[in-house]
Amino acid sequence: MKFSDEFEARFAEMVPHYPTKRSALVPTLLYAQDEVGFLSDEVIAEIAGRLELTELEVRNVISYYSMLTTKPRGKFNVQVCTNISCMVRGGEEILHHCAKKLGIGHKQTTADGMFTLEEVECIGACSWAPAAQVNYDFHENLTAEKMDRVLDEYRKKGTQ
């Protein structure tokens, strides 16, 4: 299993920060997922081996964290917050708008593999609601029109 040099450098730097190897597990999984797209069997086996854990122990951790996934996602993961601060400012309408525009529902991926849609819990953008994250980028004070522009930009980026 081959990761990028950047991943390897980060991993090598991170592990000695802790008295136990296992402590590096959660951030390592997220960085691995960022590279591969999801936590495949191969990735899980590799990380388990490196941190001296069983694959089951790693899977047990993966299933707890909402950002970690063992299923492939689209190139861009559109995460729309509908929690209270966003809800009272139209977060559900934004989610619904994305669903209609992309033709997919919660945790589904478009046929071209471009977008996955996800209804998420509070992302810490309450004062700039309604908000969404596409991968790690925040998009705030959303309207349906603004959301359209955001999705169009990502589509353009994804086809380049």
Binding site: T20, I84, V88
Partner: protein, 438 residues
């Protein structure tokens, strides 16, 4: 990058360097950065703890426990290494303040962790940032690297002969991890399931060593207290509630944003003067004063001083500083439902009252809101929530139960308006189909 706001009533302590480019270490130093830790290096540990105790600083994560007191619980002698852990898992719905601190003033958090470490005799500090805040963990990683390069952190800090390491750590999506014992589990590479206490983290914490855990805003206040003095800081607030607070105004308010106001600032004034009131010609219905776990206040209950003790007296909590405003076009049953969906999603499943309670409440509220409610459901929801209180290892069960009790007690009429198969009086046409399986 989140937009900044300002208001003349603000008293800027933690937000003093916001927008001033203080992510740059030289700029931070020019703005009095890393002076406090150098002062602390010349102080006895007990003197640092006393200064923080006397400042009246209380935990900004939500519980409002005296920070200095917390530090004093750490044993002086310990066979195992001691640790400081900064909680930047900020996930309480309505709360977006630590985000601004990390974005604009990351070194203040590092400096706060360092001072806490000097006070309790720790040689390592960890700054845990939630996984969604990737851009902030990048900012923090650079800040730590710069601090090492200057010799402020690492071996022989400020040529004092003392060693102190600071590390960052990232989460991967979990509200529960904001609870201190679950936070430690997560940092140790496990599921964020809470630990049984006692022993408390101050005695047995990270990797078995005594550990101080403080919220990012709490720690960012510490350098200002050391430099400005406990008396100055205490006087900014109200008795036993020192300093200022980052209040996150959100929801149906004209000027949402994060404002730094003195502890004890009047909530009504906060909504109508600072926040500009309720937009779109609507009226105020209710406010959740401190993040989603705090019982709701009705429109006629908002003449309250926003400090821990006054809000508690008013029957709610100051919590995490997330002030969520609800106007008269919002349905309280739906608001209660969305709140419960969150807690059900985030419950780790360890304790039965929380795991089953949140699920039953969510299911009841879904059925209730869609017109299938029965009169006895209203009392049952309250009874169920009341029986979750205090029966779980961590406060997530309470956090789910308390707002539910508040909604049912204070807005019983709205629940009754949903009975007998009547459609939700607030529902916009076609909105029901918005409900996703979550």
């Amino acid at each position: 990058m989140a937009d900044l706001v300002s208001h003349p009533d603000e008293v800027k302590v933690v937000s003093r360097r916001f927008g001033l480019g203080a992510t740059d270490i030289d700029r931070y130093v020019a703005l009095d950065g890393y002076k406090a830790v150098q002062k602390a290096l010349g102080m006895e540990p007990d003197a640092i703890i006393n200064e923080v105790k006397n400042s009246g600083l209380r935990g900004r994560g939500g519980a409002g426990f005296s920070t200095g007191m917390k530090w004093s619980f750490v044993p002086k002698q310990s066979a195992k290494p001691k640790y400081v852990l900064c909680n930047g898992d900020e996930s309480e719905p309505g709360t977006c303040k630590d985000r601004l601190i990390f974005e604009h003033d990351p070194h203040s958090v590092i400096e706060g962790v360092m001072i806490a470490a000097l006070a309790v005799g720790a040689k390592s500090g960890y700054i845990y940032i939630r996984g969604e805040y990737r851009y902030l963990s990048i900012i923090m990683q650079k800040a730590i690297k710069d601090a090492y390069a200057k010799g402020f952190v690492g071996k022989n800090i400020f040529s004092s002969g003392r060693d102190l390491d600071i590390y960052w750590h990232g989460g991967a999506g979990a509200y529960e991890v904001g609870e201190e014992s679950a936070l430690m589990e997560s940092l140790e590479g496990k599921r964020g399931v809470p630990r049984i206490r006692p022993p408390f983290p101050a005695v047995v914490g990270l990797w078995g060593g005594p550990t101080v855990i403080n919220n990012a805003e709490t720690l960012a206040n510490v350098p200002h207290i050391i430099l400005g003095g406990a008396d100055w800081y205490a006087k900014l607030g109200t008795p036993k509630n020192g300093g200022t607070r980052l209040f996150c105004l959100s929801g149906n308010i004209a000027k949402p944003g994060v404002y730094e106001l003195p502890m004890g600032y009047n909530l009504k004034k906060m909504l109508f003067d600072v926040g500009g009131g309720i937009p779109n010609g609507r009226e105020l219905k209710a406010v959740v004063p401190g993040g989603s776990s705090c019982p709701v206040l009705k429109a006629d209950e908002i003449d309250v001083a926003m400090d821990f003790d006054s809000v508690a007296k008013a029957g709610s909590m100051l919590g995490s500083g997330g002030v969520v405003v609800i106007d008269d076009q919002q349905c309280i049953v739906k608001f209660a439902l969305r709140t419960m969906k969150f807690y059900q999603h985030e419950s780790c499943g360890w304790c039965i009252p929380c795991r089953e309670g949140t699920d039953w409440l969510k299911k009841t509220l879904i059925r209730f809101h869609s017109g299938g409610g029965m009169k006895k459901d209203i009392d049952n929801m309250q009874y169920l929530a009341e029986n979750m209180l205090g029966r779980t290892f961590c406060p997530l069960g309470d956090a789910a139960a308390m707002p539910t009790i508040g909604f049912v007690k204070k807005f019983r009429q709205e629940f009754e308006d949903h009975l007998d198969g009547k459609p939700c009086p607030y529902e916009k046409a076609g909105a029901e189909e918005l409900a996703f399986a979550h």
